[in-house]
């Protein structure tokens, strides 16, 4: 270890290498409930430095994990096998902005929202907008194929990434994809986006920029019951009304948010839908009318339209800070992420509530209703023996329901170390064997982010996972 550290310090300078336990402490967490501590944290400034770090680690047979801002919710950036953590905080430059052709080239450490800030003067923005967009990095977005409320209309990260520069586990630097039309060949960019850092380290990203719509209307529909709200979402979809975002929050969650953000949400409702329609002025007018009609047909008490940008931004601030608001209520919360076909929404909400009751845990509901992406928030107190375990069991029950309903284990947070053991609910041994061969095509020695995505026994690099570093109760 000492010689590894010396080599890293010689490469990067002492300030760019952390190894004291007190320095490493904050890197053993991300936004998930798991934790695992790296042996060293390094801060490269260039692609070449990343490649050299990878070569040094390979010589010492030490695994590597990439990390952006650590906002991930599935333990994707936790070093399950210890080793060297590469934090991309210093690789945070926007390298090029091509307004005319709506492209940008960025380093992986650029914060998602900073890209939008850099191009909004030209009427452009970066479409994927995860709730953590003011903190999370584009490198992390690429790894997890991040989503967000507006992906309902504009697609997730993979739909907005054209090309990548990679460092492979042997230190090779290579490029995949192309800036405009694909040049022929397999869509390696499509494979790498969402591969959770298990195939390569991404050191440069070429993204598409989107044009800001001419008109936006943000509607807040207030319902007496959760059922009315979910039935509204099903009906909107069935009538082919396609808002750019359609978020649901239950009444209990709204009160928590209101105490925290003062966004103007009602304190006495069963649920609200936050619905946005965008596009040409004429389209927005008619879509907003259609949305209002459907909401009213499902007994909406009120459908309020945000009067101006300030009110709109406040409503979104409320939505995007919902998870933070939970921190005022319970010492810990566990944000789940499952997907169901949209028509199963009412049943899914009822099931989530039933599961919460069964385990005696409070479950808040806030999610991307429009695309069937559930985010129940399970509140728990880690000081109460057994409660964390119950929260995990409740999570598993919710996900089992999602799969049984024809859905998936994760819509945007990733499998990481959180859900790898649930993967057999969806995939067969032959499926895992193929995924493992694809994994090995990039990362044959499992030196990059070992122990993720694959369940134990179906993947690779299990020997690299430290028994004491696996999932656990952070407060325990």
């Amino acid at each position: 270890m000492t010689s590894l550290l010396h080599e890293l310090q010689a490469l990067l300078g002492e300030a760019a290498v952390l190894s004291r336990p007190e320095d490493l402490l904050m890197y053993e967490y991300d936004g998930s409930v798991d934790h695992a501590r790296p042996d060293a944290v390094v801060f490269p400034a260039t692609t070449e430095e990343v490649a050299n770090i990878v070569r040094i680690a390979a010589r010492h047979d030490v695994p590597i994990v990439g990390r952006g801002a650590g906002t991930g919710l599935s333990g994707g950036a936790l070093p399950l096998g210890g080793g060297v953590m590469i934090v991309f905080a210093r690789m945070n430059r926007i390298l090029e902005i091509d307004i005319e052709n709506r492209r940008a080239v960025v380093q992986p450490g650029v914060v998602n929202f900073d890209l939008t800030l850099a191009v909004q003067h030209a009427g452009l923005y970066f479409a994927p907008d995860p709730s953590s967009q003011r903190a999370c990095t584009l490198g992390g977005n690429v790894s997890e194929n991040a989503g967000g409320p507006h992906t309902l209309a504009y697609g997730v990260t993979t739909n907005h990434v054209c090309a990548l520069e990679l460092v492979l586990p042997d230190g090779e630097i290579t490029r995949v994809g192309s800036r405009f039309d694909n040049a022929g060949g397999y869509d390696l960019t499509g494979l790498l986006v969402g591969s959770e850092g298990t195939l390569a380290l991404v050191t440069e990203i070429t993204v598409k920029l989107s044009r800001q719509p001419e008109a936006v209307k943000t509607l807040l529909a207030i319902f007496e019951s959760v059922d009315d709200a979910t039935e509204t979402v099903v009906d909107l979809t069935a009538q082919s009304i396609t808002p750019s975002a359609c978020e649901m929050m239950d009444g209990w969650t709204l009160c928590a948010i209101e105490d925290y953000v003062h966004a103007g949400f009602p304190r006495d409702s069963g649920a609200v839908l936050l619905i946005e329609v965008e596009g040409l002025t004429e389209a927005v007018t008619s879509q907003a009318e259609a949305v209002t009609t459907v909401c009213k047909a499902h007994r909406a008490r009120e459908v309020r339209t945000a009067r101006d940008t300030a009110e709109r931004e406040l409503l979104w601030k409320g939505r995007k800070n919902a998870f933070g608001a939970m921190g005022r209520i319970a010492p810990c919360n566990y944000v789940l992420d499952g997907v169901i076909p949209r028509s199963k929404l009412p049943a899914a909400l009822r099931e989530t509530q039933a599961i919460g009751k069964r385990f005696g845990l409070r479950v808040g509901n806030i999610f991307h209703a429009g695309d069937g992406n559930l985010h129940p928030i399970v509140l728990y107190d880690p000081r109460v023996p057994g409660q964390f375990e119950k929260a995990v069991q409740a999570s598993h029950d919710v996900l089992r329901f999602c799969v049984a309903a024809g859905g998936a284990l994760t819509g945007e947070h990733g499998v990481g170390m959180e859900k790898s053991e649930l993967m057999p609910l969806l995939f067969s041994d032959a499926d895992f064997a193929l995924m493992r061969r694809v994994h090995d095509a990039f990362n044959p020695r499992a030196s990059l982010n070992p122990g993720k995505i694959f369940p134990l026994g179906k993947g690779c690099g299990e020997t690299r996972i430290r028994p004491h570093a696996t999932a656990g109760n952070p407060a325990a």
């Binding site: 993979t158 060949g185 819509g411 499998v415 193929l434």
Partner: protein, 466 residues
């Protein structure tokens, strides 16, 4: 019948049932690739049967080319071995469609037109309007990697293909994604299959997200005497808030060729053909849709922009004329290809929208290319198709490869990647059908190895000899 053919037929019929193997020359002509037929064509009706065929091929060391409508078998290099065509047209069912979910799942052998009809009943669509539409299957349209006019709004197949099931070169089934619009569970292997030309796996089931069919649909047409004016019009549209569902620029020869093919097919094109005059060299065609108010607004804005860009003629088509214009644009590339008797080539270039006009100008003005009837179809997003053909324009065949190399040199000067999806068999060995390989070709070889370790799927057809 060849000995291999007989042996294969006997075995295949034992696996798939009588009548599922074709070995007679007339029947095999359909599966011909660049003049070479397979020894046998086998029709599988389920993923299990596909597995059986692949295991049989593995045991017998036979090479397989998956096949749907057989419209794009000539794409890529001819496979170095071609024993079996695996015909998937029997996998032709819609397997799951609840319009309320805005997703659909279907067998890979389902014709594009059949899916269109199923969805249209519920006012939905899957934006897969690739060339050869009426004869193509879902699997073929995805595997070919061809784009379609609607990519302007919806992207290409990889953007709305949300999951797939397939059979790999080990004879096992595989799957990725699912039938929900948002899903990051496991690797997105289906994205690798889009554009893989059947070299990784045999698609058996494909899942898409669907989109609402607009209440009304129109096509806007503007003609220009000068390329720069047409380019200015395209730029004005891109800079506007308008959301065309398709946007193409064509030279008059390409447009007239596409229109001519429609006339030959017996369609009444009088409304549409009356608007191109002799002095108009460049045409911009934009499709758009929405409710009546949205359509009127777009039409009004497009008309004003066309006027400012010095269009010599501008029209908006509705109803049958709109449908016809969309079809003409969708099938323009096959029409251009056929007009040269399939003797030339069409190169696909990935340039930037802003520099497309300059590139097209350099290509179309190059004197040495004139004898080969240059034709252009450029999509609004910067993808340019450029066609040359030796037979129809008086250019000599001997000089053709040189002319193509001149065109490729012009393209290289613009630093745009290029590949040649349509190429007459006789030029394939001389021309860079797959463009210049990058360093990522090493990764692609390893991906091939992961899916098809024995190399039985269309060996040699893909980039870098994969």
């Amino acid at each position: 019948m060849s000995t291999t053919g007989e042996r294969v037929k006997a075995k295949a019929e034992s696996l798939l049932g009588a009548g599922c193997a074709v070995t007679d020359p007339a029947g095999l002509a359909r599966y011909d690739i660049d003049g070479t037929p397979p020894s046998a064509a086998l029709q599988a009706a389920s993923a299990d049967e596909v597995c059986e065929v692949v295991r049989f091929a593995l045991a017998e060391k036979l090479a397989i080319v998956p096949c749907g409508g057989a419209t794009k078998l000539s794409m890529g290099m001819p496979p170095v071995r071609y024993d079996l065509a695996l015909d998937l047209r029997k996998l032709d069912r819609v397997l799951q469609y609840d319009p309320g979910d805005l997703t659909v799942s279907a067998g890979a052998g389902l014709p594009l037109e059949a899916l269109r009809q199923t969805l249209a009943v519920h006012h939905q669509l899957v934006p897969l309007d690739t060339p050869y539409f009426e004869r193509s299957t879902l699997g073929g349209a995805i595997a070919s990697g061809l784009d379609s006019p609607s990519r302007e709004l919806f992207g290409t197949a990889r953007d709305f293909l949300i999951g797939a099931e397939f059979v790999t070169g080990t004879g096992e089934t595989g799957k990725s994604g699912g039938c929900v619009v948002k899903n990051v569970t496991g690797y997105d292997l289906h994205k690798l299959l889009a554009g893989s030309l059947g070299t990784l796996a045999v698609l058996t089931r494909v899942n898409f997200r669907t989109f609402p069919l607009p209440a009304e649909s129109r096509t806007f047409f503007a003609a220009f005497a000068r390329l720069n004016d047409a380019g200015g019009f395209l730029q004005a549209i891109r800079d506007s808030p308008l959301l065309p569902s398709s946007l193409e620029l064509l030279n008059a020869r390409a447009w007239n060729t596409a229109l001519g093919a429609a006339i030959q097919a017996g369609m009444d094109t009088s409304d549409v053909s009356s608007c191109t005059g002799a002095r108009e060299e460049w045409l911009v065609v934009a499709g758009f849709g929405g409710n009546a108010a949205v359509c009127s607004r777009q039409e009004r804005d497009l008309m004003a922009m066309a006027g400012r860009a010095s269009a010599t003629n501008a029209q908006s088509w509705t109803g049958d004329s709109d449908a016809l214009a969309r079809q003409v644009i969708r099938e323009a590339l096959p029409a251009i290809w056929e007009s040269g008797g399939g003797t030339g080539m069409i190169v696909r270039i990935g340039t930037s929208p802003a520099s497309a006009t300059a590139l097209i100008g350099s290509l179309c003005c190059a004197p040495e290319l004139q004898p080969f009837r240059p034709m252009v179809l450029a999509r609004g997003g910067g993808t340019v198709y450029f066609a040359l053909s030796p037979s129809a324009g008086g250019g000599s065949s001997d000089a053709f490869p040189g002319a193509v190399r001149t065109a490729l040199a012009i393209i290289a000067k613009h630093a745009a990647p290029a590949m040649i999806p349509w190429c007459a068999p006789q030029w394939k060995s001389e021309l860079p059908v797959w463009g210049e390989a990058g360093r990522d070709i090493l990764l692609m070889r390893r991906i091939k190895q992961a899916f098809d370790p024995q190399g039985i799927f269309a060996p040699g057809r893909f980039a870098g000899g994969i």
